[in-house]
């Protein structure tokens, strides 16, 4: 992470934020700790989606399916087996990545809206399984009181656990996006045909991108269970996929940190406006209209343009 100039500055900003987040729980009410943890989980989901949407240019329209697979795998393993927590924790993301491989394998053969349609239908199949298979998944009730290990029972401990996993995942995703793999993924987003002509196996590259993104979605799913101790079919429902997509657009889908902003806004809206009215999506709708007219690159896209650095997280500084 040690890089010249503005990157070093962003590194210190991130480090400072992390320190503040580490010392917050004792001084703020428990409820806010919970909200923050919830924002981390949602952010991780949104960022994993943005890897393939913002950086990969893929129409990943049913990302929540993989979030749900991660959560259900973790929940099922903890409830139905006596496997140690660590195994379940790793199995969640791996199951999500496998689902990503399976669905992605078909989807990368198509482009754009066809890709999106196929993914929505295949993802909905997963939802249908979770929704209907009562004996295993508890059907539309889901599963509650999932026995997460005792050291995660207190909400403060869960907060720290989620914060640490979230930070590690963020760092990994950052490294991946800055690697030749991530760079090539962005090149494919910009121009798949040209990429093919420089010798890149575009489909395989996209598929690997999907597997990585769905893996992190699985991690987010596991963290959701750590926080909420429950799973339910809504986790795999397409409406959630749409919400996550909006988070990316809202925050700025060509920026790395944008989806976190988007997730924070959505979670806060749902929580705080949701207290007064169940129609909090009305406010979201108005926000979106403003977004489309005034900030087409999202909030972070706007900010980084104002700060003079280009909205593309790129290789500008490569030669310096």
């Amino acid at each position: 992470m040690v890089k010249p100039g503005s990157s070093l500055r962003s590194f210190w900003i991130c480090a400072a934020i992390l320190v503040v987040l580490l010392f917050l729980p004792p001084v703020i009410p428990r409820f806010y700790t919970y909200i923050l943890a919830s924002i981390f989980v949602t952010s991780l989901l949104a960022m994993s989606l943005n890897m393939v949407v913002g950086y990969g240019g893929l129409f990943q329209f049913h990302h929540a399916a993989f979030y749900g697979v991660g959560a259900y795998t973790f929940g099922l393993l903890l409830t139905k087996t006596h496997l140690p927590m660590l195994v379940a924790f790793i199995a969640g993301p791996i199951a999500a990545a496998l689902a990503g491989l399976l669905i992605g394998w078909f989807c990368v053969r198509l482009i754009k809206l066809y890709f999106a349609m196929l993914q929505i239908s295949l993802g909905s199949l997963l939802w249908a399984i979770a929704f209907r298979w009562y004996s295993l998944t508890g059907g539309d009730d889901g599963m509650h009181g999932i026995p997460t290990p005792s050291f995660l029972f207190s909400s403060t401990h869960a907060y720290y656990f989620i914060l640490i996993v979230f930070s590690v995942c963020l760092l990994l995703m950052y490294l991946i996006l800055k690697s030749p793999f991530g760079m090539t993924l962005q090149a494919i987003r910009d121009n798949p045909d040209r990429c093919e002509a420089v010798g890149v196996n575009v489909r395989r590259h996209q598929l690997i991108g999907i597997i990585i993104a769905t893996f992190f979605a699985g991690v987010a799913g596991v963290l959701f269970v750590v926080l909420e101790h429950s799973v339910f079919p809504d986790l795999l429902f397409w409406i959630l996929s749409l919400e996550v997509f909006i988070m990316c657009l809202l925050g700025g889908w060509f920026t790395f940190i944008g989806p976190v902003i988007g997730a924070a806004i959505m979670v806060s809206l749902r929580t705080f406006v949701g207290i007064y009215t169940q129609y909090w999506t009305l406010i979201l709708g108005v926000l979106l209209i403003f977004l489309i007219f005034f900030l087409p690159e999202g909030i972070m896209g706007f900010i980084s343009a104002k700060l003079g650095s280009k909205p593309v997280e790129g290789i500008e500084r490569a030669v310096e």
Binding site: S179, P180, A197, G199, K310, I315, V319
Partner: protein, 246 residues
């Protein structure tokens, strides 16, 4: 080095390429000419695998590459530019070329090494040789049309090709830009020993630069030979020079 044997391609009822033939020897600078719609671009797309021919064969270095997919053909040593500017607009000029160098070095799937330390020297050399080094940090999408076309060539060079295919490298350029680009093409052929196949509208350009010219008309090859030979060919005068050379 490259041999296209009697190749056919139709789109619906329209025969875009019907029996084209082409030979490119190592180190040669070969031009394909022909009126609009003669099938030049389609022929290039057939060679580099963007399209698959209905019939016929493409042989590169004595190996049949007809059915290979685009990225594999590229790895055999054929790189190309496109007729319409075809760059990665949201990436920097440097990144545009770097992507192709990384692909050439088989590093595209490397996951945890920072890309900004990799392939820097090679990329700089290429940008230097085409004269874009000053603009290395600009976004490709913000370049002028002429510079984007040159960047296209630079991207192709990143693959260290043996055969470089340029689809109308000077399309839409001012006369000054055209001169600079063709000088560049000639220089690349000389200094890097590249074999270059290109198609072009501008007759002066073609007869000045090319060592061998293939003339296409209605998807067929009329003749391929040295510039003088082609100039004298009656069929060519009838089909092409006659009605186009206004």
């Amino acid at each position: 080095m490259l041999r296209v044997e009697n190749i056919y391609k139709s789109f619906g009822n329209f025969l875009a390429v019907s029996g084209a033939q082409l030979t490119v020897g190592r180190g040669e600078l070969v031009a394909v000419i022909g009126p609009n719609g003669a099938g030049k671009t389609t022929l290039f797309n057939l060679i580099t695998g963007q399209l698959k021919p209905d019939r016929g064969k493409v042989v590169f270095k004595e190996e049949d590459i007809t059915r290979l997919s685009t990225h594999l053909i590229c790895r055999k040593g054929i790189a190309r530019s496109f007729q319409i500017a075809n760059v990665f607009p949201r990436m920097t000029v440097f990144g545009n070329v770097q992507v192709s160098v990384l692909s050439q070095q088989r590093q595209s799937n490397s996951l945890f090494r920072p890309a900004y330390t990799m392939a820097v020297k090679e990329t700089e050399e290429i940008l230097e040789s085409v004269g874009l080094i000053e603009k290395a940090h600009e976004l490709a999408g913000s370049l002028s049309h002429g510079d984007q076309r040159i960047l296209e060539i630079a991207i192709a060079l990143g693959n260290e090709p043996e055969l470089l295919i340029l689809d109308e490298p000077t399309a839409g350029m001012s006369p000054e830009e055209t001169r600079i680009t063709m000088d560049l093409v000639r220089r690349l052929a000389e200094t890097k020993g590249l074999t270059i196949l290109f198609c072009e509208h501008d007759m002066d350009v073609v007869f000045n630069v090319a060592q061998s010219i293939m003339v296409m008309h209605h998807g067929r090859t009329i003749v391929q030979g040295a510039p003088d030979e082609v100039r004298r060919n009656e069929q060519v005068q009838e089909a092409y020079l006659g009605d186009e050379d206004a």
